[in-house]
Amino acid sequence: MSRKLHARRIEGIDKNIWVELTQLAADYKAVNLGQGFPDFSPPSFVQEAFCKALNEGFSMHQYTRAFGHPNLVKILAKFFSRIVGREIDPMEDILVSVGAYQALFCTFQALIDEGDEVIIVEPFFDCYQPMVMMAGGTAIYVPLKPVCCGPVLSSADWVLSPEELASKFSPRTKAIVINTPNNPLGKVYKRKELQMIADLCIKHDVICISDEVYEWLTYDGTKHVKIASLPGMWERTVTIGSAGKTFSATGWKVGWAMGSEHILKHLKTVHQNSVYHCATAAQEAVAVGFQREYDVFGTEESYFHQLPIHLHEKRLRLADCLKSVGLKPILPQGGYFMIGLATIPVSAFYSPEHRNEFQKYIRFCFVKEDSTLQAAEDILRQWSDGKLKKF
């Protein structure tokens, strides 16, 4: 064919770091602490729910409600109403999507027009920028920066400058994207930090897109706060969640967007014109998982209680390992990742303008079996010993 084929909307967004690096990891049989997925299984109650769903009536294998399987949206509404402190309507205020990724896509496609500016806090999960671009928007970056350099760096030490943040808002600002707990840093925004962002959103009438996929993974007693629960924010926030991260089943690709009906309805329009439905059986299994967690919420039995405890140790282990080979890990307050050394270069999470400041940091995923972490440790030790031997 002689004519130009592809649409302009996909120009400049064809490169993708994961495609390159996961191929490399596979090619070189690397111990993979790169891409963020657990190498252990989802909890048995959720796996069992999936198998049970498969053997139920024919309806589990056929189309369900397009905007979300009834059992799932009902329990999500119930579960999160309790947390957010308001009555969430399962049919109007929730959209189930193919992973949080597709929820983000629906959000940008529904709300960002050409010429709209979107503030992105760096470091950011890499898809935000191409999604903004594909929607014709302009990304405006504001970086988190470390404020102190003590012996133990924590993700809490990385903050936004209020003046710098305020300066990024303009009459063209449509939305701001925040991710808490943050990937790759692991920062968990404090209530007052979210309040500062909320104040600006309200002042400038801006929508807040809050990616909270790691909401259950906080350590050392750190509390996850939902910006949508702050005064004046429910009506202007889209909160995004993930069953994959919640239940350690990233391969199920079940996520959701939650927010006021008058905004969610636009996400639904995108959804019904792009994928229309999400897989039924996985939604049913996630619903069963949430029902179980609803019943045991706050108790020792809760997976949301146990998983962070389980990962807490792994996080410390990896941090110690990195320190012992002379690297400076930044201890994350939440999430799956730690910045230190060797797998996904962190500059990928920064804009071209700010990339150079962050080139020496690299991201590690610690949500792995102990044997994987052991293997990583061995490699790092050997490498470090090897390096020392040279001198």
Binding site: S41, L54, H61, A249, H266
Partner: protein, 420 residues
Amino acid sequence: MASIKHKNTKRIEGLDKNVWVAFTSVAADPSIVNLGQGYPDIPPPSYVKEGLAQAAMVDRLNQYTRGFGHPTLVKALSKVYGKVYDRQLDPFKEILVTVGGYGSLFSTMQALVEEGDEVIIIEPFFDCYVPMVKMAGGKPVLIPLRLKSSSAASSVSSADWVLDQEELASKFNSKTKAIIINTPNNPIGKIFSRSELQAIADLCIKHDTLCISDEVYEWLVYKGHEHVKIATLPGMWDRTITIGSAGKTFSVTGWKLGWSIGPEHLIKHLQTVMQNSLYTCPTPLQEAVGQGLLRDFELMGKPDCYFTSLALELEGKRDRMAAMLRQTGMTPVVPEGGYFMIADVTALNQDLSHMGDDEPYDYKFVKWMIKEKKLASIPVTAFVGEDSVKQFEKYIRLCFIKQESTLDAAEAILKSWNKD
């Protein structure tokens, strides 16, 4: 409180309405025999369900897989379709796995259609084509299938619905980016013949146009007919995206897996859309579909290959449904493929003037039939543009991939039609 900033974006302006929203609530009422929405109420083959149960027990298969398609699945697809196309298919470069056939259509439009592009769509069309073209900024250009005047009044086949060749040629111009064809067609069930496809191909080549071929019902082909892939015609591989569906292939619409097959220089653009929209499809489902395809690949051409056995099973249901409808006085259009049948209700002379005149006749008829006869179907004008409403408003669409008990219930209603 409604902020102007909370308004929808231009790309989705006017795309919020949807025919299914009006009719899916009907499906919830158990007293209504639902031949409306297109999904099976027959179970999927057991080996496919088992494959999923097995996959779910493997740790690695509950986590992310390759974005453009799980290796087991793309390799199986390249095997199956390599045989069908009689060409070597690169599983990694010429195949993309998507969220259903729907997701493939979306990826294709977003990747290849933009403002200034015209896209030819044949009526009646699966309803999402028009909104998807519009969302991509393109302009839909419609052309209807027309009933050949030579066809017998009593026995109409989907083969009697054809494109006027001059009319088709007139729709192509320098702005035409693509033509969408759906074969076997939903809702009519037409299977485009080799010569019909050749005529379309000739125009695509002449005008340097892409072809988007929605072939989700490709295995549901009835006796005496052959499904031909337009991509196999000379000069067409390089300009065609062919779409398939696991949901339709294995009677698992709720798994929402489909695929696009085509040349690398086109598929790579669909992959870009994929990696920026949902990144990857569910892993265990892909593994199970891959295993199912491998199993049926070995049986291809034999009667116990699911692709063949399902078509055979459905042919019986097709014939049964056609007979039931004739008995009532409706004129069914017997489909060559797919699992839908449209029927002309003109002869019933049903007076619906009491229902007002703000809707086409078929919408009123369908609503009346749900209320008075407890039988659900879909109005065919939902699948056509405004200009073709008059041509299609006496037709309703029925789905026959239903259990015998559902068909029994439908038969009971149709038999007693004139007794009220």
